[in-house]
Amino acid sequence: MHQEIKTTPSGDMVINVGPQHPSTHGVLHLLITLNGETIVNLDPNIGYIHRSIEKMCESLSYRQFIYTTSRMDYLSSHMNNHACALTVEKGLQIEVPERAEVIRVIISELTRLASHQLWWGSMAMDLGALSPFFYAFREREMITDIMEETCGARLTMNYVVPGGVMMDLHPDFQKKVKAFIVQFKSKIGEYHDLVTGNIIFQNRTKGIGMLSKEDAISYGVTGPAARGSGLSCDIRKLYPYATYQKLQFNEILETAGDSFARYMVRMREMEESVSIIEQLIDNIPEGEFQAKTKAVLKLPKGEFYTRIETARGELGVYLVSEGGTTPYRIKFRSPGFSNLSALNHMIKGHKMGDLVAVMGTLDLVIPDIDR
């Protein structure tokens, strides 16, 4: 049969980007109305990887549902688990030992670094430079090796349990993290030489995908994408959790609001995460790594909300409990979902080539959007 090209009444061409597309990093399906090369409208059609984690969690106990969240935003899986554990601990009023909190924060910052490095490699690849991906993975491989040694898995670590962490740190954890910091510090200059300084990259990202601060708030955009337009929304700074109160780190803000600003926020955030790890790695307090918890966890009747800062933005876990052993209703406020809702506003009037640049700086992870 002759597949006629779907055109809108005004004669623009409707083109399907995805769900099987090299630069959507997952099964995101965008229906784009094109007028020649410029994009008129973008309608995301999501749900290809919708497992309804919220419905699954309603039949899992408070220890079991934590592992499903690492399948949501798999690049910051440790932070998702951390958020759920915090919610359960807030409900049960469990006092997490100091050592467990510090370990959790170190592994969170390592995951944030690994996620930003993968983002940097794949963004450069989207824009056509194929080599940076391998340089980014050289450092990221060191982090995943550390994770494999301490937590037992490379990506979905499942290292957090209500009350602390599952196992103690591996003996040469600190040695390897320090070796990584030395290597990362010597190679971050290369990242900037190869991509940030490159005139072609700057032309491709400067002034593209403008997002004003008011729009960022109205669209609910959070994380580095919002900090690129000057909105200070770093949950680690505003509503500090775990040991973030005691740490000295500054929130990275850029005001330009275009793709290059969002790019620079993530690059400087990598250095910030390294400085946080440096502050913590030498003084991990002694003590046990997990608080004593009862065999069956029963949260009291009521609702609990935790907000934490993942690599992509603000993750909220809203847990309503009826006093049973399983959550009555759970809602994950995922950062990718609202970041995606701003994409249509940012991409209007740009060219096809810019779609890839803007989506790169939004750093979308599709299972995080569909849940």
């Binding site: 999501i46 749900g47 919708h50 309804s52 919220e54 419905k55 039949s59 915090l86 601990e89 807030k90 009023q93 006092e95 997490v96 909190e101 729009d215 708030i217 109205s218 669209y219 609910g220 959070t222 909105l231 929304c233 505003l238 509503y239 500090p240 959790y241 775990a242 009521g302 609702e303 609990f304 909300y305 907000r307 603000e314 909220g316 809203y318 309503v320 009555y328 209703r329 809602k331 406020r333 979902f337 609202s338 995606l340 809702s341 701003a342 506003h345 569909d370």
Partner: protein, 161 residues
């Protein structure tokens, strides 16, 4: 996590609660587990949001979570609002009856509500009045039923634990 909520948060909540109670005598305000809560009926949501959003005293300009809980007898729409200026947050709960759940759409106030409400409509079956384009977001157009409801029966892959 200190046992008590962070001290600065506790003091702020009380101040916010008092100001809310003075201006909204009819709505039931109470301290929830994290933030003050306002329980209202679904119908007078718009007037409340109008004040909360544009009143200088609060400027709740950031809707960071909008969801719906199915209590089998009725639905509650839960709105978590926060203000980027004053840095305080409030939880808004609107009660909807179970058979014909309808509520005003907040797309006029918050652009993020567009996709959030489409998702709630898709999974919970809440009708959002004058929403610009209310379609199913995650599931296919011809899907029958609303999966996140408690009484949702799916013969194929529903595991009864």
């Amino acid at each position: 996590m200190s046992k008590l909520k962070a001290p600065w948060q506790k003091m702020e909540n009380d101040a916010l609660l008092n100001s809310l109670q003075t201006s909204f005598p009819d709505a039931a305000c109470a301290i929830g587990s994290d933030w003050p809560e306002i329980d209202i009926d679904g119908s007078d949501l718009l007037t409340l949001i109008q004040k909360l959003r544009y009143d200088e005293q609060w400027t709740f300009d950031y809707l960071f979570c909008e969801t719906c809980v199915d209590w089998k007898t009725h639905f509650t729409m839960v709105y978590h609002l926060s203000s980027t200026k004053h840095r305080h947050s409030v939880v808004l709960k609107a009660k909807l009856d179970h058979d014909k759940p309808q509520i005003e759409s907040l797309v006029g106030f918050y652009k993020t509500a567009d996709m959030l409400e489409r998702e709630v409509y898709d999974l919970m079956g809440i009708e959002f009045l004058n929403h610009p384009d209310l379609r199913r977001l995650l599931l296919t157009e011809d899907w029958v039923g609303y999966p996140l409801r408690k009484d949702y029966e799916d013969p194929i892959n529903m595991i009864r634990l």
